[in-house]
Amino acid sequence: MRYLPLTDADRQSMLATIGVQDIGELFADIPQDVRLKELVDLPRRAGEMDVERQLGAMAARNTSASSVPFFVGCGAYKHHVPASVDHLIQRSEFLTAYTPYQPEVSQGTLQVLFEFQTQVAMLTGMEVANASMYDGSTACGEAVLMAQRLTRRTRAVLSGGLHPQYRNVVEMLADLTEFPLHALSADPAGDEDLIGAIDDETACVVVQSPDVFGRVRDLSAISAAAHEKGALLIAVVTEVVSLGALKPPGEMGADIVAAEGQSIGVGLNFGGPYVGLLATQRKFTRQMPGRVCGETVDANGKRGFVLTLSTREQHIRREKATSNICTNSGLCALAFTIHLSLLGEAGLMRLARINHANAVVLADALSGIKDVELVTPAFFNEFTIRVPGKGIDTVEALARKGVLGGVPAARLAPDQAGLDDLIIVAATEVNSADDRETYVKALQEVLS
């Protein structure tokens, strides 16, 4: 077997050194009656070519985003990732290293994490960030738990513009860890009364901008109202490229930012792995969940980095830890950091302008179609349209014409009223003028 270096002769001589007759003796602690006598019922080993053929056949049954006019978003976005990013993250020293517990031989990973934390803090307009979370939705859930620890209150208020699957994650936590939750109804029209929902028992209010319908929101009034009641504002960002164009949550009074970083450096991957960003104010550092990298010096006075503040963490604190998290999303954080180093401020701001421009042009063209209405007047690179009939049927009909035209809002939240005729449409730098034209034509045909 190509991955197993031992020869049969090695095995025999090693068994002799150990002092046993056969390999079975090394498994003697497994009770006889549950020890498997036969091979399990699965195919036998396969060579590289065979595996490539089988998996290649499965891959070929999927429509990849690059192969069609593609406008699907809602928390995961198709962006162009420079070739050098994927090359660098496949270097063995990054790819095949563990969590950097031995800093003397892990400064590569640690310095990257320090750079990542700084970039995330700058991008979100916050003071500090951790070394990444699993993804945006779990970062959102952890942010709520963090706010509960900080305020010693439990009630959470969720905006109706929060991504429904993020909302589901918080609902699950509320059910199982038993805290009061006030989740507002889905809010495509943008007229919810979030401030009215904040009371003296509220630990946090969770608001997404751009929200799941694409609407950009000013968070200043909400943060002021939350702070007045002693609550914290958690700002959620699912399209991090938007921070190249929009005022960051930190400038609008956010206490914690939970974001999905997939748009920078990480591909679509059918939903994972992604990279969650969690940023906050310096004074809240010790209640942050997850890994954190900090600067220090070595015994010779040379600058270096270590994982730090581990007294928050499960391997030291066990049941008193701030969270049960052990792993972060290291390799995706690396991809994020490299891609953002390549973009820099100049590149990111231009990328954001291109995204916005492509979305504006597309929104105007689509809303020019008879009976199609633009629901979200203020948006970044994603917007919502109302179509006659069901959004789900329209999206399926578009797919049959070779256009992946967006996400039917009802797919995410079938239990919510008023979403059936809505389609959430994303436009990014990958969409050409031809793609947009194809989309407009296809939608006209589908609706006529």
Binding site: M14, L39, V128, N300, T308, H315, I316, L340
Partner: protein, 520 residues
């Protein structure tokens, strides 16, 4: 900049004895690299983009004017990150024997497969009709996991081991609540990984310790004593963190079930028994599987992981959404609790469907090995660990006597008694010898623990060198050569780092106003 102080080399490539300073502070192949923020420039970019099309902004008053992020051109980015990479130890560079972490070889075929556009470039919310092959892959991997574990159901979405623990314990809680049987305590042996008690606490349970007996395993009597009508579950790692198979596991499971509780098995060490025994035959109700350990998806410097959870019949109906249902050649993704027919999912743990990129890699690994190769891999992993044990048993000490271990071998620090050398020194001296240290000071129940997991990826020659080097370090510790250990590492690019300072005065980011040293 790196300058030698104290008359010893600070560089791995320093040639051992040379301590002559260089102008740059570089040491041949080991090149100093400043922070991105110290070399980048906010006007620079390594990405060429066209002008945006003409448009009227829809951002209202929320437009942003500055960020402060530096950029680099592509050649500069390559150099920056290649130089940083060279400061990392990695499996591909040498033995990485971190106990309970399973640092086995990461086949590159798996990387290639995960990057096929049909897997890497598809969106989680595309119409299901356009991702049938992706759903088939998830269903196929699920079927492999169920066959290998002998369990009834599986949740694929957990993002890592601890996320899987939460999934399993949440399903147990939901199952008991559905029966109107709310319980408040979870039993956790003292040798457990810290995520176990942290997970139980997160779900509102009180944690009750279960002591280990003298041979390092848990006795059914100790479990029976701790059980009661308030106990929801036991969380038990098997093989355990001492590298031992819990030989009374079936009796423990029986006692747990008799008390109306459930058995959560931490599957972190599943690699030892793949193809040798099925957790379903051991009485397990839930077990997470670290795809990044047992099935070789890369650790990536700390993630991403992937932690699918398998369930017994009793718990399976409470598994979270989403999940894939197969109907002939057609696959459906059930995304909401409302759409789950005949099941009572406890909810959703994450947006989307789990770590697809890791699923592809894990399945490629499993298909490559097949049922025969997977069993051989487990046997080789156990053989290698016992070979290390046999090579060191006369010079190092084992807390539970010299007995057969599974895929990892545990030593304590008794052999260092009165030498003035600690477990930490011993581990750091391994760095100088070109090895990654073993897991140390874990499990907590053993004094000065050193947990060595060589994995099946090591050749006999590699193990022979490793054993010889550790024997020589023991000789040095007990002889007149202690400085080799107490000051180690001597040959790494950094000497020991001041972790206390990092925690007392946390500097968690570079700051533009002041030099980073004074940021806090």
């Amino acid at each position: 900049m790196s300058m030698n102080r104290g008359g010893r080399p600070t560089s791995a490539q320093g040639g051992g004895s040379s301590d002559s300073p260089t102008f740059t502070g570089n040491r041949a192949l080991m090149i100093e690299e400043p922070l991105l923020f110290e070399v980048g420039d906010i006007s620079k970019t390594g990405v060429d983009l066209d002008e945006p099309e003409a448009h009227d902004s829809r951002l209202g008053s929320l437009a942003r004017s500055e960020i402060g992020l530096p950029g680099l051109t592509e050649p500069e980015v390559m150099r920056h990150y290649v130089r940083l990479s060279q400061k990392n130890f990695a499996i591909d560079a040498g033995i990485y024997p971190l106990g309970s972490c399973t640092m086995k070889h990461n086949p590159r075929l798996n990387e290639k497969m995960a990057r096929l556009p049909g897997f890497g470039d598809i969106h989680p919310l595309q119409p299901q009709s356009s991702v049938q092959g992706a759903l088939e892959l998830i269903d196929t991997l699920a079927a492999w996991l169920l066959e290998l574990t002998g369990m009834a159901g599986v949740a694929m979405s957990p993002k890592a081991g601890a996320h899987g623990e939460f999934c399993g314990m949440a399903a147990i809680k939901a199952a008991q609540l559905a029966k109107g049987d709310a319980r408040s305590v979870v039993l956790v042996p003292e040798s457990a990984h810290g995520t176990n008690p942290a997970t139980a606490a997160l779900l509102g349970y009180k944690v009750r310790d279960v002591p280990a007996r003298e041979d390092g395993t848990v006795s059914p009597d100790a479990v029976k004593e701790a059980l009661g009508p308030d106990v929801a579950a036991i969380m038990l790692t098997n093989p355990n963190t001492c590298g031992l198979f819990e030989r009374d596991i079936v009796a423990i499971a029986d006692a747990v079930h008799e008390a109306g509780a459930y058995f959560y098995c931490d599957g972190a060490n599943f690699t030892a028994i793949v193809g040798k025994a099925k957790p379903g035959d051991l009485g397990v109700d839930c077990m997470h599987i670290n795809l990044h350990k047992t099935f070789s998806t890369p650790h990536g410097g700390g993630g991403p992981g992937s932690g699918p959870v398998v369930f017994s019949d009793a718990i399976a109906p409470y598994a979270p959404v989403p999940y894939v249902v197969r109907n002939g050649e057609e696959f459906t993704l059930v995304e909401t609790a409302g759409a789950a027919k005949g099941a009572k999912p406890f909810g959703r743990q994450t947006a989307f469907h789990g770590q697809m990129g890791m699923f592809v890699r894990a399945l490629a690994y499993m298909m490559s090995h097949g049922c025969d190769g997977l069993r051989q891999a487990s046997e080789d992993a156990v053989l290698n660990a016992n070979y290390v044990r046999a090579g060191l048993r006369d010079v190092m000490t084992q807390p539970f006597g010299d007995r057969v271990c599974m895929h990892e071998v545990l030593f304590d620090d008794s052999f260092l008694k009165d030498t003035g050398v600690t477990t930490l020194d011993f581990a750091k001296a391994m760095i100088d010898e070109g090895f990654h240290p073993m897991t140390m000071y874990f499990p907590l129940v053993v004094h000065g623990a050193m947990l060595i997991e060589p994995t099946e990826s090591e050749s006999k020659a590699s193990l022979d060198q490793f054993i010889a080097a550790l024997r020589d370090l023991v000789r040095a510790a007990k002889g007149n050569d202690k400085e080799r250990l107490t000051g180690a590492p001597h040959h790494a690019p950094w000497a020991r780092l001041d972790e206390t300072r990092a925690a007392r005065q946390p500097v968690l980011r570079w700051s533009p106003e002041k030099p980073a040293e004074a940021a806090e």
